[in-house]
């Protein structure tokens, strides 16, 4: 049972906060992914948990013990570094076994445990090599082995796959998930790659400028982004974000006089940001009122088309099935109200729609946002 509880964690470098106001509880045995753009403080948060950085404020508990003042080696965490940091002068076996050696484990037992781990990671035939003689994927495995050999309570991964080529990355992703299923060790995995995050995470944390934007399952973050930042960060191609406002009769109008549906708990004249996934947009005939679009570019990804649609005010991306024919003339776009994401224009926070009223059309009554 190794849960991690973080409260009001803060880390400053020379007066600038790299991590602030972080509250997070990581469940025992879960695979938590920390996602965010470069420089948002992911590594710093991970290193705070590891003990490689000292917190400026706040508290970190691992398995119920406050570890703020514990040395990294005594927190029960093992880490896989981005560039692996394998000891260059030691053999693979010595690299994997170093933690045991330092812990005073006798040579014979040490050798046995190193061999067990090596077998699990298919490194048995490489034990005498130096890290310099290994390929990137093999180094990655050795780094994993070094972390696993102590049976740590927590695994910490700092972008461990970012130095691998795409194919290897995909297979290591699966392998790490398998290992996690097998060992069931609480794991915290940092990445800037949303595909990695979405595919690996039990739950994920999206960070921005040192703060947590949202915590939840990958589906939570994709279907119900808590802020404009989350909405724009998660999903490929990115969600279309369009400025708009609530007009006097309470309806939502996006820039360009585009009337959109839904009922929103906002006062008239409130500025908002409207989010529409590229896949949620539908082509229609050019409307009499509202924006008229033209096709600008069409990218064929093989599995779908990405149509760049431009109007006087808007630039949107529309995802179409491969068999669709991009319109040659002017056209309009519609979106079902249930597929709209609305964010407060000033705070950037999500605004959920009001429940549908009697008399509204049937599709609006489906409880898709609750």
């Amino acid at each position: 049972m190794t849960e991690i509880a973080i409260s009001q964690l803060r880390k400053e470098f020379a007066g600038t906060a790299a991590v602030e106001a972080v509250d997070l509880s990581i469940r025992s045995g879960e695979f938590l992914v920390i996602l965010g753009p470069s420089g948002c403080g992911k590594s710093t948060l991970l290193r705070l948990i590891a003990g490689l950085e000292d917190a400026t404020g706040g508290r970190i508990q691992i398995g119920g013990t406050v570890v703020n003042d514990l040395e990294p080696g005594r927190r029960g965490c093992a880490m896989v570094f981005q560039n692996y940091s394998l000891y260059p002068h030691m053999s693979v076996a010595a690299n994997i076994g170093y933690a045991l050696k330092v812990a005073g484990v006798r040579r014979a037992e040490r050798q046995g445990r190193v061999e067990d781990v090596a077998r699990l990671l298919e490194l048995d035939h490489l034990l005498d090599r130096k890290p310099g003689q290994l390929s990137g994927g093999q180094r990655q495995r050795v780094a994993m082995g070094r972390a696993m050999v102590r049976n740590p309570q927590v695994f910490l991964f700092d972008e461990p796959l970012s130095n691998l080529d795409a194919k290897l990355r995909a297979s290591m992703r699966v392998e790490i998930k398998r290992l996690h299923r097998r060992l069931g060790t609480t794991s915290v995995f940092v990445t800037h790659d949303q595909l990695e995050a979405m595919t690996m995470a039990d739950r994920m944390v999206l960070m921005n400028k040192g703060r947590i934007e949202q915590v939840g399952t990958p589906q939570d973050l994709f279907r119900r982004p808590a802020s404009v930042f989350v909405a724009g960060f998660i999903g490929t191609p990115a969600m279309n974000l369009v400025p708009g406002r609530i007009v006097s009769d309470g309806t939502l109008v996006a820039d360009g006089g585009w009337r959109l549906g839904g009922r929103w708990p906002l006062n008239p004249h409130t500025p908002v940001t409207v989010g529409m996934r590229p896949g949620a947009l539908r082509l229609t005939a050019a409307p009499a009122d509202g924006p008229v679009f033209r096709a600008d570019l069409c990218e064929d990804l093989g599995s779908e088309l990405h149509l760049h649609a431009t109007s006087a005010e808007l630039d949107l991306v529309v995802a179409l099935p491969v068999d669709a024919r991009p319109p040659s003339g002017p056209f309009g776009l519609t979106v079902e109200p249930e597929d709209l994401h609305l964010f407060h224009g000033e705070t950037g926070q999500r605004v959920d729609p009001l429940p549908a009223l009697q008399g509204d059309t049937a599709w609006q009554m489906q409880p898709s946002f609750t």
Partner: protein, 309 residues
């Protein structure tokens, strides 16, 4: 130098000078010429000279004597004493040029700000003092009658020490002065090497549960081994030479040859007694000995030292 120059040199003039690659050699020519005129030629001439007897007067021609110089020198107690002293110089210098600087570099690695500047100044001042000034300085400091050090020793109630006159002590005094001058350089080199160790290795070791001492022993020292070996090699090969100025300025090899090492002896034969043949012979013997040592070190460094790339 050659690394940087060669590739472009090969490419560009290849069109002007077809086939034979003259350009690289042209670039190398000045260096090769200097090396030849100032190193290899004198070496060869010394070799010739070591088989002759000559008093360095231009009017006299060197007289060939075969291996006599070698036989005579090897039988000379003076030479044996100097050779043994040379070994002591090296042995005495190693702690000062390697062990202490290594300890200082590692212990001061976390110093910051003002303290760091102070420590650097302290360590580097001896390095920039000219050797002859250092010699004069230490002759004053260690003088038996009015030297500051003996003043303090006497003040503490101990008998004064004849740093330069006592044959049992004089050599170690010279070793200290030579080493005092070297420490800054070694510390600088080791600090720099220590500073370039990837902090990732140290963090990995901390995660593995290693304490400070274990990190030093298992990570830092192996990664510093090329620099350590370089310093050991330099001390062994050149340490005794570096003491020449101090011997020359302070003890003149005395008392009773106690501070004479092989380099000082060579110089004495050549320029005090004008026995060019003997001087050359001592020089060639020293050259061969140290040349073999250098080869040994090169082999060792390939085997032992770890090079991180």
């Amino acid at each position: 130098m050659t690394d940087a120059v060669a590739p472009s040199a090969i490419r560009a003039p290849a069109r002007l000078l077809p086939r034979v690659q003259v350009a690289p050699w042209l670039y190398l020519l000045p260096t090769l010429a200097v090396l030849f005129v100032w190193i290899y030629l004198p070496l060869f001439q010394s070799f010739q000279l070591s088989f002759t007897q000559w008093n360095m007067l231009p009017t006299k021609t060197p007289k060939p004597v075969g291996w006599a110089n070698y036989r005579n020198l090897l039988a000379l107690p003076e030479l044996r004493q100097a050779a043994l002293n040379t070994v002591w110089y090296v042995v005495g210098l190693l702690p000062l040029s390697v062990v202490i600087p290594l300890a200082v570099a590692i212990l001061t690695q976390d110093l910051t700000g003002r303290l760091r500047n102070l420590y650097r100044a302290l360590i580097f001042i001896p390095m920039i003092v000219p050797p002859i000034v250092a010699a004069v300085l230490w002759r004053w400091l260690l003088n038996e009658d009015y030297g500051l050090v003996n003043h303090i020793i006497a003040g503490l109630g101990f008998p004064t020490v004849k740093f330069f006159q006592n044959p049992d002590i004089a050599l170690w005094t010279m070793v200290w002065i030579t080493g005092w001058k070297l420490m800054g350089f070694s510390t600088l080199l080791l600090s720099a090497a220590n500073g370039t160790i990837d902090p990732g290795y140290l963090e990995a070791a901390r995660m593995d549960g290693a304490n400070r001492w274990q990190i030093t022993r298992d990570i830092r020292l192996p990664l510093l081994s090329p620099t350590i070996l370089l310093l050991v090699m330099m001390t062994v090969l050149f340490g005794a030479q570096w003491s020449f100025v101090y011997i020359n300025a302070i003890t003149d090899g005395g008392p009773m040859g106690a501070t004479t090492n092989i380099f000082f002896l060579m110089w004495k034969y050549g320029f005090q007694t004008f026995s060019a043949g003997w001087s050359a012979t001592a020089g060639i013997m020293t050259f061969v000995t140290f040349g073999l040592l250098a080869l040994l070190f090169l082999g060792l460094s390939r085997k032992v030292a770890f090079h991180d790339n």
